[in-house]
């Protein structure tokens, strides 16, 4: 019988758990940035890191600290509109609506349609609506006040990104889950009638989409990661026609004032570059505007107008926790912040 007691003592010893560390974040967010980290597929480990600019410290679980729960699986997009922040969580299939000042939860919108996850991917805004590209082939229209889904607009397969220009919504249809026969179109949606006007053929596997100050839409067609290279294309939004293809390697576009930072990451060589593109003259002004040597795996580029700084998102090989690397607008590297797994979006608070 002593042996039985011994067993239970061992059980108790093994059962003791260490205490959870307390998460301390200010009630109202200021002078810092929230960094959305995707995590990895099927691991429920998407997170939001908070970088405090006053002492450059990083808190890795901002979302948990503010809401008491985890963000979920694969957070793909995070944007601010009015007094709210919207986060699209792809595999968990939710839109998390947060108060922009306190980051507390306003509503979690479940994105499930008839038992199938819609898989929200990216977010855009127009008027009183939020537009969400969902991987199941629709753009959902959500009212910013009621936070209800008003309507679903059918587009192409696996829509990836959205941009608003000239009263219309441009949706890049990647068809990424349909490989190797991916989609090649951009859907044009009338923002008054919420109907698809047409599909513009732009090239294989459309991805990121951006608008310049003149209203032109630029879309990346990522090709087949082999013989068809990743390229930037320009759509004239007056005529809704594809007007121009640029011949340089590019996989991401980020606006910086009236210009674009165009980035490229080559998965096979792990080499990356960030160039400066002028959308007025339609020329690549500088192919290597930033010295990317501090960056291991370039996963995103973000320019913040208030802070007037450039932030490069470093995914560190995708299986290691990432970094945000800060540069000044002239391209000098300043500092790195160690954040969560696969940082993908930034919201800067002044």
């Amino acid at each position: 019988m002593r042996l039985i007691s011994a067993v239970f003592i061992i059980v108790l010893l093994f059962s003791c758990k260490k205490e959870e560390p307390m998460l301390c974040v200010d009630e109202t967010l200021n002078s810092g940035m929230a960094v959305l980290c995707e995590g990895l597929f099927q691991q429920n480990n998407s997170s939001i890191s908070w970088v405090d600019f006053s002492d450059n410290s990083v808190t890795n679980e901002l979302f948990v600290a503010k809401t008491g729960r985890q963000l979920g699986d694969t957070g793909n997009d995070m944007k601010r509109y009015g007094g709210k922040v919207y986060v699209a969580v792809n595999i968990s299939s939710t839109i998390e609506v947060l108060d922009a000042n306190s980051f507390t939860s306003v509503k979690q919108i479940e994105m499930i349609d008839g038992g199938t996850a819609k898989q929200p991917r990216s977010i855009a805004f127009y008027g009183t609506n939020v537009y969400v590209a969902c991987f199941d082939g629709y753009v959902d229209v959500i009212d910013t006040t009621s936070l209800n889904v008003l309507q679903r607009i059918q587009v192409g397969t696996n829509p990836e990104d959205l941009a608003v220009s000239n009263g219309k919504l441009y949706v890049s249809n990647s068809g990424g889950l349909n490989g190797p026969v991916m989609d090649s179109t951009v859907s044009v949606i009338d923002l008054t009638t919420h109907t698809e006007l047409q599909k513009i053929v732009v090239g294989l596997n459309p991805g990121e989409i951006q608008v310049d100050q003149g209203g032109d839409v630029y879309v990346i067609t990522r090709g087949n990661y082999g013989s068809i290279p990743s390229r930037m294309k320009r759509i004239n939004t007056q005529l809704d026609v594809l007007e121009e293809e640029f011949s340089f390697d590019v996989s991401g576009i980020s606006p910086m004032n009236d210009k674009f930072l165009v980035s490229y990451y080559d998965y096979s060589t792990t080499q990356s570059s960030v160039g400066l593109f002028n959308p007025q003259s339609e020329t690549l002004e500088n192919a290597s505007y930033l010295d990317v040597s501090p960056v291991n795996t370039l996963y995103g580029v973000h320019y913040d107008i208030g802070k007037n700084k450039i932030f490069l998102l470093d995914a560190m090989g995708f299986t290691n926790t990432g970094y945000v690397r800060e540069y000044d607008v002239l391209g000098s590297y300043i500092i790195s912040y160690h954040v969560g797994l696969n940082p993908t979006e930034i919201l800067v608070y002044d």
Partner: protein
């Protein structure tokens, strides 16, 4: 006398006296050495299997020291075993002396293997199993040998044996098994059929931030049916066996518990057909075994929710393999010479025009010798392997040729019941068809993954009248080079396999088996083991994971089983512990998942009706402390659940 004492402790249920053909063959020459119980490797006996009421073979193997189980949960859920951190594909499984190749994934799903027919499960990294086994088993990093009721001969005095059992348990679990073998004289015929099923809708509780998420596991149903027959004959100096097994499985794949999204409805259907035969002949100074087997393994995977243009995925994978070989041994006064050849031919066809159509021819050759002299035993072997690949739909992987050594020196001290062993071996495992060819993920330029293992072991058997004690311990060092890992190479959603890893394993284990005869009615058995595995990533000095503990390998693993028997009634408490692990190679707090201890309790009683009929009733409560635990992040396992069983045995 000591031997008898040892056997006496195997109570209270049935003591089976079957021996299989392979084990009949004289392995060991008479010497002092042979009398010391061979206990450097780990064996799970039929008593262990009965008393712990395991769900599947994975539940059995986790009790073996050095085994690291990855379980994705539920009845029939994917379970694989990695021995001593080598990786699951380094383990070769054999059933009754026939290897079970799995070339598509490289890993047998232990969760799909039922347990009612098992007599023993033995695992070894030190090539100690048996030199009559197929060569593929003798040249692998580690091997697991399973023996079954249906494929073993009856004791000489018996002509009929019957086994039947029924189980009922939580989450809609219902099992049935019936087997019989008839052996009038030299001929033996056996027949068996079994089925397991469960709804698998178990409640779970999972930590979500600072909250607790509770829910019910969905799409976790499972139903299998398996049957088979063996025809065998045993003569004075030879034996022959021929048999067939078939398995049909239908199951839901519940996937990870994804926060806020419970829409999984993937399905898997498995259909497996296995035919096997062998012929063994032996004499005073030699033995020869010839074996052949064929396996058809069909998988049908369906995901109706996959967001592609076709509106879902429905793919059928057909993996066929045929294998044949021979092993021969020659015994002299101080030497046993052994050797063998084996040829495996396998292919994979997929009803997806994008998938490769690979064919592999894998040839094995083995030569070795065991030298016995006084208290020294030296075993050495050299093996060769030639692997030729073809792909009928695209580029194929290059051919491979390897020579691999094994050397073991054992020192036995009879009077002190002490035994030392030091061994080294170099092995490799081929990349699986999936790793080489799976659509974008596969990389047909992959090299085999190399493993080096060095081990020092000691075994002590102190002699006490009432206490039978075995103590064993090993220190080991393993190094895996050219480790095959997946990294994103085209985009974040397309990962590809690369040979980039180097892993070093610094390990230690200790095992104690104690059988204590308290009074003539009361007996007690303790089996415990502990394994320490510091498994470090040595791939890249500049990586943040350099010298970090490799993902999903616990530093500490322990088992402790304690059983008490009073006459024909028994109680067994099983404890299984693994320490915290990291879900990725980077050892940061976000990647940590908690360690756990699981305690199962069984109570059983055997009724003897006449001389030969045994009826056994058993109740098992698993996870009695209702711990929430997971082997793999977000694949949460069931809380407290029960299983009751009734079984009948004749002979």
């Amino acid at each position: 006398m000591r031997c008898c004492l040892f056997i006496l402790f195997f109570i209270p249920a049935w003591v089976f006296s079957q021996k299989d053909t392979i084990q009949n063959i004289q392995e060991v020459r008479a010497s002092d050495f042979a009398r010391i119980p061979r206990k450097l490797n780990s064996s799970i006996t039929q008593e262990d299997i009965l008393e712990t009421n395991p769900t599947d073979v994975g539940d059995i193997i986790r009790k073996i020291s050095g085994a690291n189980i990855k379980s994705y949960g539920g009845l029939g859920g994917l379970k694989t075993v990695s021995m001593r951190s080598l990786g699951a594909s380094h383990t070769v499984l054999a059933m009754d002396g026939f290897s079970l190749p799995q070339l598509q994934t490289g890993q047998v799903n232990l969760g799909q293997m039922q347990v009612d027919n098992l007599l023993s499960v033995t695992a070894a990294n030190d090539n100690s199993l048996n030199t009559a086994l197929p060569v593929s088993m003798q040249v692998s990093g580690s091997s697991v040998l399973i023996r079954t009721f249906e494929n073993t001969f009856l004791a000489a005095e018996d002509t009929l044996a019957i086994r039947a059992n029924a189980k009922y348990g939580s989450f809609g679990r219902l099992d049935g098994y019936l087997a019989a073998k008839y052996q009038p004289g030299k001929l033996m015929v056996s027949l068996f059929a079994g089925s397991r099923q469960a709804q698998g809708r178990y409640p779970y509780s999972l930590k979500n931030g600072l909250q607790n998420l509770t829910g019910t596991r969905e799409n976790n149903d499972y139903r299998d049916f398996n049957w088979g027959t063996v025809l065998a004959a045993k003569f004075n100096r030879s034996s022959v066996r021929i048999g067939y097994r078939q398995k049909e499985i239908k199951q839901g794949l519940p996937g990870a518990v994804i926060f806020y999204n419970q829409t999984q409805d993937e399905r898997l259907t498995t259909d497996e057909k296995n035919a096997f035969m062998d012929y063994t002949i032996w004499g005073e100074r030699f033995s020869l075994r010839m074996h052949a087997s064929g396996l058809l393994h069909k998988l049908e995977y369906r995901d109706p929710d996959f967001l592609n243009g076709a509106g879902g995925i429905n793919t059928v994978y057909n993996n066929r393999s045929a294998n044949g070989g021979a092993t021969a041994r020659l015994f002299t006064e101080h030497f046993t010479f052994f050797g063998g050849i084996e040829q495996i031919a396998a292919d994979l066809t997929v009803d997806d025009s994008l998938f490769a159509a690979p064919v592999r021819f894998h040839n094995y050759g083995l030569l070795g010798a065991i030298f016995w002299w006084k208290r020294i035993k030296i075993k050495g072997q050299l093996s060769s392997q030639y692997v030729s690949e073809r792909n009928n739909n695209g580029e194929n992987a290059p051919d491979q040729f390897r020579i691999n050594p094994f050397l073991s020196i054992e020192l036995g001290k009879y009077r002190k019941h002490l035994r030392h062993q030091i061994w080294y071996k170099n092995t490799f495992r081929m990349p699986s068809f999936n790793e080489l060819y799976y659509n974008n993920v596969g990389n047909n330029a992959l090299l085999p993954e190399d493993a080096h293992q060095v081990n020092y072991g000691i075994s002590i058997v102190p002699v006490e009248r009432k206490l039978d004690l075995h103590i064993r311990s090993n220190v080991f060092y393993n190094e895996v080079r050219n480790k095959i890992v997946a990294i994103p190479t085209q985009n974040l959603f397309v990962w590809s396999m690369q040979n980039i890893g180097t892993v070093r394993v610094y390990g230690f284990d200790a095992m104690v088996d104690a059988k204590w005869n308290i009074t003539s009615y009361w007996k007690s058995v303790l089996t415990a083991n502990y394994t320490y595995q510091r498994t470090l990533d040595y791939t890249d000095e500049d990586s943040p994971t350099y010298r970090n503990q490799v993902a999903y390998i616990p530093l500490h693993t322990a088992n402790m089983d304690l059983a008490f028997y009073y006459k024909k009634t028994g109680l067994r408490v099983s404890n299984y512990f693994i320490s915290e692990r990291y879900t990725l190679n980077e050892n940061v707090p976000q990647n940590k998942i908690d360690g756990f201890i699981i305690t199962d309790v069984s109570i059983f009683h055997t009724f003897k009706i006449g001389e030969k009929h045994h009826l056994r009733a058993q109740g098992t409560v698993k996870n009695v402390f209702n711990n929430s635990y997971a082997y793999i992040r977000s694949f949460v396992m069931p809380g407290t659940n029960f299983l009751i069983s009734m079984s009948y045995a004749f002979n």
